[in-house]
Amino acid sequence: MTDVIDLQIPVSADLLVLARLTAATIAAKAGFNVEEIEDLRLAVDELCLPLVRAARGGRMQLRYVSEGDSIEISCTVQATEALRAVGQDGAPEGRAEGRAEGRAEGATGAEGRGQDGAPEGRAEGHPDDTLSARILDALVDAHGRTDGDGQDRHWLRKHRASLTV
């Protein structure tokens, strides 16, 4: 049986919980055990976080595909045109923490923040991105990212260990 779930949310700290709840729900339906469900819940969070940290505003598209004993999740951020222009002008990087907090307060105020003098391209990483990568390494079978069409797509795949019937 194949289940496909699509979720599209504003890039917003307050809504990332939905990415986790959706992962937990599809994993439970696919027969993942409690520990595997928890692993996937954390993994999808870490899959999205580098995109959340790098993006300002825009929309995040998540796709969950459950097939047989494996689940694949992908996450893509579609920046608005205004944001993409800001992100590519190569201006110096702002304080990482300041950016994270600004984003948490209102994802749709992005155009306003685009003028606050601290724009940043999406290629540079946040210090926490290293932790995200280590967590993904430990929790999933495979993960990676593909760049294309100005879209940064992050994906992961996880099998459940044992057949539960």
Partner: protein
Amino acid sequence: MDQTFEITERPAAPAGPPVVEVKGEIDVATAPALRERLNAQVDAGWPTVLVDLLDVTFLDSTALGVLVGALKRCREAGGNLRVVMAEPRILKVFEITGLTDIFQIFPSVDAALQA
């Protein structure tokens, strides 16, 4: 919803450091509040702070980043950050990121206070 996030501060006993108790999920939405509270303790003159994660149900790299930042500030002030946790699921996140060696970890608040 069971994601209720809550931070409670207990003033330091004469013998020990202040205790910051966290409940619920520490993620990118809630971590900034935790950073503020931990920084406030150090700024108030407490070089050593105890953070109680016993009732934390979820914690991600954002939370770890905040704890690493707080540890750094405590050390700069000549103290340390003592982390209390017992749940295997939460410990696992520290283990897979190699942070168990960096933090002082205790299984109970009492053990952390006596350290």
